[in-house]
């Protein structure tokens, strides 16, 4: 055995070299290729010694992990080119190919057409190139023993995500605590944020100039949290605009956003005591297409020359198309988005930009309502925990003591 393995290897290398040279098809080389092929005896690679299959944990019972020991013949430069994985229903025993893996790989996940609770058998064939005495070659498949039957299981709690639950509960509980505390009274300090403080003045400016205010709620639908945040801000902006009797216009690129924005504004106007000033046509749909929407809003910006433009929500490439036009039209622009790729463009073209988290905080700020402000305190608590964790984690990792990241990394 000790001698055989290196010998096998050597022959396999010869066989491969001979094969590849023979394939070149050069007349001069054929002779030597023949000699090598003749010298190499027909050898069969060894099968996979064992195959184990197990349920993939923490899933909906739709995947099985198949692992095997590498064939002893599978070594660098060896004749083994890969493995072919077969599966059979335990009750029928008929094996069907489910996939291939290349040499030196020893596992695969069977994630397709797996029913939970059904027993399966797995088998792994070694695929190897065999060189025949006449110099030709073919691919051999040497089957393994089948694995013991295994069934996928549905889990009801994903234990991989336990730490996510723990951290979430801690921060959420703190947030709710601060909300309750704020409700009972108690002064909550929030620092100045330029972009948010500027809202009133920006609308006031439009009133003085007798021009419109535009509010652009992004180009995503209501299933984006940023749009929801943008609409919440629209509620506050709408109340101020109603109070100042400034015409506010909301072009949307999504029908559902149009509907929601109308509901929101209607309420804002009636809360400001001016329900009659609200007209449905203030909020209108243009088109779902990103660039057509940008083209149309651009056109409106140059024609109507609004004094103030808000961009609040999810923005993509149109961010600069809109804000550059607004800038050239002389509007005061306040933007807010959590799309990191677009922040630089708003920063370059707008007077004020709410960065990521500030977009989500803005409506709470503008409401000045204790419960809303309390939730901001909860956000800060979360940041405090993360800061502490990062600091500790880095120190402990540098000192090579404990890897804290394992409590934060979630699959």
């Amino acid at each position: 055995m000790n001698v055989r393995r290196p010998l096998c290897l050597l022959f396999a290398v010869f066989a491969i070299v001979g094969l590849s040279r023979a394939q070149d098809g050069d007349g001069a080389d054929t002779a030597s290729a023949e000699i090598i092929a003749e010298a190499a005896p027909v050898i069969s690679p060894l099968p996979v010694p064992s195959v184990t299959a197990s349920d993939v944990p923490n899933d909906d019972g739709s995947a099985i992990l198949v692992e095997w020991e590498l064939s002893p013949s599978d070594s660098v430069g060896g004749a083994v080119v890969g493995y072919r994985i077969y599966r059979a229903f335990a009750d029928s025993g008929v094996f069907v190919v489910i996939g291939n893996r290349s040499a030196r790989q020893n596992s695969t996940v069977n994630g397709e057409e797996v029913e939970p609770g059904v027993d399966y058998l797995y088998r792994v064939d070694v695929l190897a190139v065999r060189t025949n005495a006449d110099g030709s070659s073919d691919t051999l498949a040497i089957p393994s023993q089948s694995s013991v039957p295994v069934a996928a299981v549905v889990q009801w709690f994903n234990t991989d995500r336990l730490w996510a639950l723990i951290w979430f509960v801690i921060i959420a509980a703190a947030t709710i605590y601060f909300i309750e505390k704020a409700k009972r009274g108690g002064n909550i300090y929030v620092r100045k944020i330029g972009g948010i403080d500027a809202v009133d003045d920006a609308i006031g400016r439009a009133t003085e100039m007798g021009r419109k205010v535009f509010f652009v709620p992004g180009i995503q639908d209501m299933n984006d949290v940023q749009t929801i945040a943008g609409i919440a801000i629209l509620g506050r902006v709408g109340a101020v605009a109603a109070e100042y009797e400034t015409r506010l216009e909301v072009p949307t690129s999504r029908s559902m956003v149009m509907v929601t924005a109308r509901e929101t504004l209607k309420e804002s106007y009636s809360k400001a005591g001016r329900p009659d000033s609200f007209q449905e046509d203030q909020v209108y749909y243009l088109t779902d297409e990103q660039f057509a929407y940008a083209a149309a809003v651009d056109g409106r910006i140059v024609r109507e020359r609004p004094a103030t433009i808000f961009y609040m929500g999810a923005f993509f490439a149109e961010s600069l198309i809109l804000s550059e036009t607004g800038n050239a039209a002389g509007a005061i622009q306040i933007a807010g988005t959590a799309e990191p790729t677009q922040l630089p463009f708003f920063v370059a073209a707008c007077d004020y930009t709410l960065l990521g988290e500030e977009l989500f905080a803005a409506s709470a700020y503008l409401s000045r309502e204790p419960r809303q402000l309390g939730s901001l305190k909860g956000q800060d608590f979360g940041k405090g925990i993360f800061l502490l964790a990062i600091l500790l984690g880095v120190i402990l990792a540098t000192a090579n003591l404990i890897d804290l990241s394992q409590y934060f990394r979630i699959n």
Binding site: N58, Q155, I176, I231, R371, F386
Partner: protein, 221 residues
């Protein structure tokens, strides 16, 4: 009823969908996909509201002969025309799908929609230039940093700085430096923003679920 039912619906769905994150089995294990499917179907319904609104506004403008009403005619005709072409392309038996290369719908897409979209996108090249000319000025420390970072990345990403300094510094120094900026300081900035966003979304979602933030149902307090 009008106010309480929506609040209750938001609360229940919010809690259920949040919990589903921890449950791998059953349909709760696939809420992201299931919800995605629902949304696409709701969008197919909701688009009627938008398109009818667009048509209504255009027709009103035409009827009242408002300023520039001619363009409203163009919008209305293009809208109805495209829908007609799409329906014909989708239902006519000679086409397999409304997207087939030979359909009139595809003709509109290729020769009207696509070039318009591509050009609107390309306009950005001009705006990027004018925005940099105006905004990237060393007004204060922050602006200077912004300027320097953009300068090196802009010049390093194409073989511009490297070829200018070829006689002095050999190789791809500026390309590597641009890469270094992208992989370290930029990672740091983006990570801070990302973590902030995570907490921001968490707090504002909690406000929505708990009914503190209720603007989406037209509700103040």
């Amino acid at each position: 009823m009008r106010r309480e039912v929506p609040l209750l619906i938001t609360f229940i769905t919010g809690v259920v969908f949040a919990l589903s994150y921890f449950i791998p089995g059953g349909w709760l294990g696939q809420t992201e996909r299931v919800f995605g499917d629902w949304i696409t179907i709701v969008q197919a319904f909701a688009v009627w509201l938008g398109v009818l609104n667009l048509l209504k506004i255009s027709l009103i403008k035409i009827q009242r002969k408002e300023h520039d009403w001619g363009y409203s005619v163009v919008i209305a005709v293009c809208l109805v025309g495209t829908i007609a072409a799409g329906m014909y392309s989708g239902f006519a038996p000679q086409f397999e799908s409304f997207r087939d290369p030979e359909t009139p719908f595809n003709f509109i897409f290729r020769n009207i929609f696509a070039p318009l979209g591509a050009t609107m996108f390309a306009i950005l090249a001009f705006y990027v230039a004018s925005a940099s000319y105006r905004a990237f000025r060393a007004r204060n420390r922050e602006a200077t940093i912004l300027l320097i970072a953009s300068f090196f990345v802009m010049g390093g990403r194409v073989p511009l700085l490297d070829s200018i300094f070829m006689p002095i510094i050999d190789g791809t120094f500026f390309a590597d430096f641009a890469g270094w900026i992208m992989s370290y300081p930029v990672t740091a900035g983006q990570r801070a923003i990302a973590i902030g966003i995570a907490l921001g979304i968490m707090a504002s979602s909690l406000r929505v679920i708990l009914g503190i933030e209720r603007s989406h149902i037209g509700g103040g307090n």
